[in-house]
């Protein structure tokens, strides 16, 4: 059967974000501009980054995304994330390795509501006609400088965003415990572009992925979308295969 991850998130549960509950209210995030770069990475450099419950994507790849959220319940903010391509059972997922938000309030809320491993820092999203750029600075050091080169229009239907999985502590069955949480935003496209990914600075350690080296660019996209951060619907036991350890917290988006 397929390979499994090797990370035991319960071994260092104190390092994980902690949610007060699993009843997080949804955020509506209209007209977000989302730069996303997919890049293959050597399989050996992702060793130990993926929870035991999940399967690695083969070949290994990471998703670098820098998003400008112009409206949110905590005001405008930018968010940069690094996710590792993977599978939760049969389903493609991006396991969140690290994130930086441009405001303290956004960082605090994203960590406390959805369990994103997010710090505050400077996150810039810049659009030019020949490129769309994302830069992230943390503690005065640039940890990401990337761009989508020569963006060309594509249809929104050409773009697929996969759902996120994050590791966090949360109360379940009367006990706060480490778990995997599925974050599954929806997207309504206004505009989508595609181009070449380019990364000039990537400080892997700052993204909690110290061994990861970027190898072969796959593709980059930049989209303007209405999106959201929805209520948590699924949590997973971090040590069991997800088809054995998945719990549905609530039925569907209809209850939002």
């Amino acid at each position: 059967m397929p390979l499994y991850g090797t990370l035991d998130i319960t071994a260092n549960a104190r390092a994980l974000p902690t949610l007060a509950n699993l009843d997080t209210e949804a955020w509506t995030l209209p007209k977000a501009e989302m730069l996303q770069l997919l890049i293959e990475v050597p399989r050996s450099t992702t060793e130990g980054l993926l929870p035991k419950a999940m399967h690695p994507a083969l070949p290994s790849y990471v998703i670098l995304a820098v998003t400008r959220y112009s409206e949110s319940p905590v005001g405008p903010f930018n968010l940069a994330v690094l996710r590792l391509g993977s599978r939760a059972g049969a389903h493609p997922r991006g396991f969140l390795l690290g994130a930086v938000a441009s405001t303290d309030a956004a960082a605090r809320e994203l960590k406390g509501r959805w369990g994103l491993p997010v710090d505050a820092g400077e996150v810039k999203f810049l659009r030019r006609h020949d490129r769309v750029m994302g830069t992230v600075t943390k503690a005065g050091r640039t940890i990401l400088d990337c761009a989508l080169i020569d963006p060309q229009p594509v249809a929104g239907t050409d773009v697929q965003y996969i759902n996120w999985v994050t590791a966090a502590n949360a109360p379940l069955d009367g006990q706060t415990q480490p778990m995997l949480i599925q974050v599954d935003p929806k997207y309504t496209f206004y505009k989508a572009e595609r181009g070449k990914p380019q990364v000039s600075t990537f400080d892997a350690a700052a993204w909690n992925a110290p061994q990861v080296t970027l190898a072969d660019p796959i593709v980059g996209t930049c989209s303007t979308v209405d999106t959201d951060l929805p209520r948590i619907r699924f949590v997973m036991d971090p040590l069991k295969p997800v088809f054995q350890g998945t719990r549905r917290i609530r039925e569907s988006r209809a209850d939002e």
Partner: protein
């Protein structure tokens, strides 16, 4: 109704030289038996880098071995990837002609363009243009086989005038097919007069629609080859057992294993935004089949597992929809022991095949 075998050649970890060899030998043993039992085809895929799911990266070699140990069964390249980074068209024409000669004119040539990023990215192929390059390749192949000399200047490849040798044993050339997974490819097949080599496990309703459209369109086709190959084949799982419950349980295990391995593949659309890969192909159906709440119902609809009576019902349904040939996957990750695969083939040939045979065998079955 014709029956065939369909090989992905799935090999479980840990991989050892002996395990790879054992699985390949198992497959050859199955093909030899299938030939003796009267199966019509053996198909082998071309896949690259698809860990556990398919170790069949040199199907022409496997099919040559099949041809050498059999007498009648037809050998099908299912499919040759018609993307320049994978296969040069001259080499395709040469290798297929050689295989046709060695098999005594038993070759079928399936064509396609690959659906996974794992493969396309591995060869650094551009997903945007695979449909176009496939189209160029399928138009060239018959000419390369039939014309004494051939020259070509196209968008994706070119060559000065040369004599491409050898020529196929079959005249005018082997039957041509196209792999149909994405919606709409059945129309591509029909418009070019190609056989529809269905590789998905869609339910009856969806298949019926596709087949009707294929039959309608092919009537007015402009064939790329010297003749129209109007045939519809589908893929299925086979496990035939005297006891229905045992047959269904093992068949489901086979289907679930195959589907789960397939869902681990990185479809092109998952990572590479391209108008050329708008559909996820067969993966959504496999994901539903592998994990969805209605998994058991989807899994069993039309599947050729269970006892002979149950399988006969399923095959009759496919026949009524207009399917000409069913190709069976016999194993995935070796979850079915080889002796049970062989027993299943024998029982299927004894109890099921005569019901669908034409000529004397059909008469015996009817009696």
């Amino acid at each position: 109704m014709k029956f065939g075998l369909f090989y992905e050649i799935s090999i479980p970890r840990p991989w050892t030289p002996e395990k790879e060899r054992t699985v390949y030998n198992n497959c050859l043993e199955q093909v030899k038996l299938a030939d003796e039992l009267g199966f019509d085809h053996v198909w082998a895929v071309e896949h690259h880098f698809l860990e556990e799911y398919s170790h069949c990266s040199a199907p022409e070699l496997f099919l040559t071995a099949c041809a050498m140990v059999t007498k009648n069964i037809q050998v099908g390249h299912g499919i040759v990837v018609c993307v320049p980074e994978f296969n040069h068209p001259i080499k395709i024409a040469e290798k297929t002609a050689t295989l046709d000669i060695l098999s005594g004119g038993r070759l079928h040539v399936g064509t396609g363009r690959s659906a996974t990023w794992t493969e396309l990215g591995g060869f650094r192929a551009n997903p945007d243009i695979t449909k176009k390059s496939w189209d160029e390749f399928v138009r060239c192949l018959p000419k390369m086989w039939m014309q004494e000399t051939f020259s070509y200047q196209g968008e994706f490849w070119s060559m000065p005038e040369r004599t491409i040798l050898p020529k196929p044993y079959q005249k005018p050339h082997p039957p041509m097919w196209v792999a149909v997974t994405s919606p709409g490819t059945e129309i591509d097949a029909a418009d070019r007069g190609l056989g529809s080599l269905g590789l998905s496990f869609a339910g009856f309703d969806e298949q019926e629609k596709k087949i009707k459209e294929y039959r309608r369109r092919i009537k007015s086709c402009e064939p790329v080859g010297a003749f129209v190959n109007e045939q519809v084949a589908t893929t299925n799982f086979l496990f035939c057992h005297e006891d229905e419950k045992t047959g269904v349980e093992m068949g489901k295990r086979l289907g679930n294993t195959f589907n789960y391995l397939a869902t681990q593949l990185i479809s092109t659309r998952e990572v590479f935004s391209s108008p050329s890969y708008q559909s996820l192909g067969l993966l959504p159906a496999l994901r539903r089949a592998a994990t969805g709440p209605d998994a058991s119902e989807q899994q069993t609809e039309g599947m050729a597992y269970g006892d002979p009576a149950r399988i006969i019902r399923a095959v009759k349904k496919w026949e009524s929809l207009g399917v000409d040939c069913i190709n069976f996957i016999l194993n995935a990750n070796e979850v079915v022991p080889q002796d049970q695969v062989m027993a299943s083939l024998r029982l299927f040939a004894k109890e099921v095949m005569p019901v669908f045979a034409k000529g004397p065998a059909a008469k015996v079955a009817a009696e």
